[in-house]
Assembly symmetry: C2
Homo-oligomer: 179 residues x 2
Amino acid sequence: MELSQAIPILSAAPAALYALLHGLPEAWTRCNEGENTWSAFEIVGHLIHAERTNWIPRARILLLSGEARPFEPFDRWGHARESQGKSMEQLLEDFARARAESLADLRALHLQPEHFARRGRHPALGIVTLSELLAAWVVHDLTHLHQISRVMAYQYREAVGPWSVYLGVLHCAGHGAPA
Amino acid sequence: MELSQAIPILSAAPAALYALLHGLPEAWTRCNEGENTWSAFEIVGHLIHAERTNWIPRARILLLSGEARPFEPFDRWGHARESQGKSMEQLLEDFARARAESLADLRALHLQPEHFARRGRHPALGIVTLSELLAAWVVHDLTHLHQISRVMAYQYREAVGPWSVYLGVLHCAGHGAPA
């Protein structure tokens, strides 16, 4: 993990989601893969919630308290109430704003090479480093872009007929995180 | 498959790829998942090649000749020579232009509801309908967005440390099309 490699992806993610999702019919953005799965709308809500409660807040705990103080547990359903009544456009704008604030906060930490090996305590995973936390932030964006492509493709799983065998996204089981 | 649902995704794809990939360090766009796998650069090259030789050309063959004339086989490595020496920015612009032309061609076909069940012959898959071809075009975009997220995430598979268990994209095997 190098900050100069991580920041360009973190910076690009809101615009990529905006370009993909803004103005799409709700048939694409509100559909999911069945019970207890998320739509693109819920995924963007989750990204906003993670932005506010997960990445930078955890980096701060790690830098301030090291292994002594575990991170707050992350609520995987924490976005549900916050997203209620909002439009997809609003969520996309909220995510862009929340990410811009996080990146400003990240810059304000003035991280130096020696900080990246600093250790903290994840409530479930145990000891983790700042470098791992920042890499996980990047891959979390990519995991959800991967998931959004899959959720939308799922709606056409029958419509593609015999082409299904060539379209890998239709055979992705989701590799879901443990509940 | 409804054209009013399919067209918004087909229209959004070039901008989504541009927002994600333009200006990213080559460490992200030229990396792959190992021998005989594609980088984001190669995937965008493949999307351009498919745009020029696959979707609209096949729709035309289907509408003109039905099952009598099989589609031309698609060359999965056909992009290699065309992409050589180009930059990622050039490919992203080429894809946007090629897609805009395809969508103009699609509109010029003036498809009516009765056209969607028309049948053609895929050189490997056999009988397919126009509706299936158009749905496959949409899911092809989503398959490659899914793949690009995965290829980039792969570069951080070690860097995320214990977070790997929560990051589904790192456990995606690719579900590759048959060679």
